[in-house]
Amino acid sequence: MTTGTLIGYIVVMAGVTYAIRVIPLVLCQRQITNVFVRSFLYYIPYAVLGAMTIPAIFYATSNMVSATVGLIAAVILSWQRRSLITVAVFACVAVLITEWIQALI
């Protein structure tokens, strides 16, 4: 593949992705008053994150067992309102320990 073709692909990828991100942010500058729309936008982040986390988290590590242990650790810590970093780090540690035990068995 020539460098020109490759750059063509990259320009299209980056251009489309940026357009999707920038258009709503620039065009919509005033407060939306419609209660349904406001409520809809309020729930969007939770819905997006929930959908992105499950079931994807089960495939994020080298096996489902360690991923499940990591998930449980993360849910317990976030239930106790620990910070983002704490939850992320201890989920990783839980996965590490689980896979280490699995290797021993």
């Binding site: 992705t17 620039v26 919509c28 409520s39 809809f40 982040p45 819905a47 994020a60 992320a88």
Partner: protein, 251 residues
Amino acid sequence: MEEEKNLCHNQFDAGFRHGIPIGLGYLSVSFTFGMMAVSEGMPAWSAILISFTNLTSAGQFAGLDIIAAQGPLLEMAMVQLVINLRYALMSLSWSQKLDASVTLPQRLLIAFADTDEIFAVSSGQDGTLGSKYMLGLMIAPIIGWTAGTTIGAIASSLLPDFIRSALGIAIYGMFLAIIVPPSRDKRPVRIVVLVAVTISCLLHYAPVLQNLSSGFAIIICAVAASAIGAWRYPVKGDNFAASGESGEVLS
């Protein structure tokens, strides 16, 4: 009370700090991207350039397949549009959350960093978002995403497998830390999350439905669950805070 509600988050260093865990999480994902791109026969510089200009995971991985197959540019555009359409929803949500002081050039810059994680962390702050906070928040993720790709493309055997496996869950740990506390406190949020998760599993495991692209699946989950939430549990009040203590939910 009113002043507290109109609080504007506008500290550069607070933004920067909040961006660090995102940047670390991005390292491992973009590392994989750099590795895959090179193994598909692409030069390292192109993988790095893609990461720096796109700053998105699902779209880039899908783009890689199209480049490898030398697919038409129109297909590339359509795939990016569908997979990344969720960003339009997030930008729209941001448009309600950004402080009135944020100028047009700043909006043009902030829009570039509309990723799931940056959006989620910023939405989790009470009050409105100022440009300094947002620009601070963007830095570590952009560096992490580009640096991870660079490392992956240049030295794919650098990290041992067990470390990469453990890092793979970091980003989901962060997601859970964002959605679990408000789900614990607010029943409507809990229901929206459960509906989204249920649909997500359905789209992932059900025959036929599982052929949907991951980006399109997220759009369906987000629109359906949020619409149900908005219909059953409308949110009142002037403050547009997507989480935290302020957004008052009628139930």
